[in-house]
Amino acid sequence: MSFLTLRRFNNVLSAVVIVLSLYVLLMPFLPQVSYRWQKMPPLAQAIENNPETVPQQNTLVIPKMKLQQTIHEGKNKWTLNEGVWHIPKTGSPDAGGNMVLSGHRFTYGGPAVFYHMDLLKEGDDIVIYWQQKKHRYRVEHVLVVPPSAKGLVDQTPDEMLTIYTCTPLVTAKNRLIIQAKPIPEVTP
């Protein structure tokens, strides 16, 4: 390989190093910038009304987070790589009990479905389309707990929804937990 060819090759390698470094440094913060211009998903635009077409798959909708995501069923934790994971053996809107959903706050190249979960406050609305039926919840508690906290994802006699992810952003130090209770749907 001649000196000039090697030099060109090194220039390409240098560009690759710069691109990879920018990817590592900027990726954790890009969703914060893109959120501003992100469009509200169709189901989140009008949660007060019944949508014209109900999603065939079980779907989680959180307007405050501009989130509309399919709820994935799976036996192990790697289902998290697909998006929102319905933890096995927890409740559901039709069966009752405590329905527990989990998802990533941030991951390189994977679905960071709950990146904006820190925006959720008490009183915010959450909608779950389950078996083509709409179920509405209202956030009652927003908690930050260590991973060792017990009892938060246990089953309850009453129907409720628990969603959890990691916090602070880009770390897994604590868990950000959203507890929501069902509210009756007013059909127009």
């Binding site: 000196f3 090697l6 030099r7 090759f9 090194n10 390698l13 240098s14 690759v16 190093v17 990879l20 470094s21 990817y23 590592v24 934790k77 790697w78 998290l80 790589n81 989990s102 990533h104 706050r105 941030f106 991951t107 390189y108 190249g109 994977g110 260590p146 991973p147 060792s148 906290a149 017990k150 938060l152 994802v153 959890y164 992810t165 990691c166 897994a172 868990r175």
Partner: protein
């Protein structure tokens, strides 16, 4: 520094960065499911 020395350093740098990204990709899944 000779040109091929630069090549070696850059290749090592890229390998480290790719390794770091791959390691960081599986980290949240491993951590999130711990506890609770």
């Amino acid at each position: 520094m000779k040109e091929w020395h630069r090549t070696v350093i850059l290749v090592i740098f890229i390998a480290v960065l790719v390794g770091l990204i791959l390691w960081a990709r599986q980290l949240p899944t491993a951590n999130l499911t711990q506890g609770l």
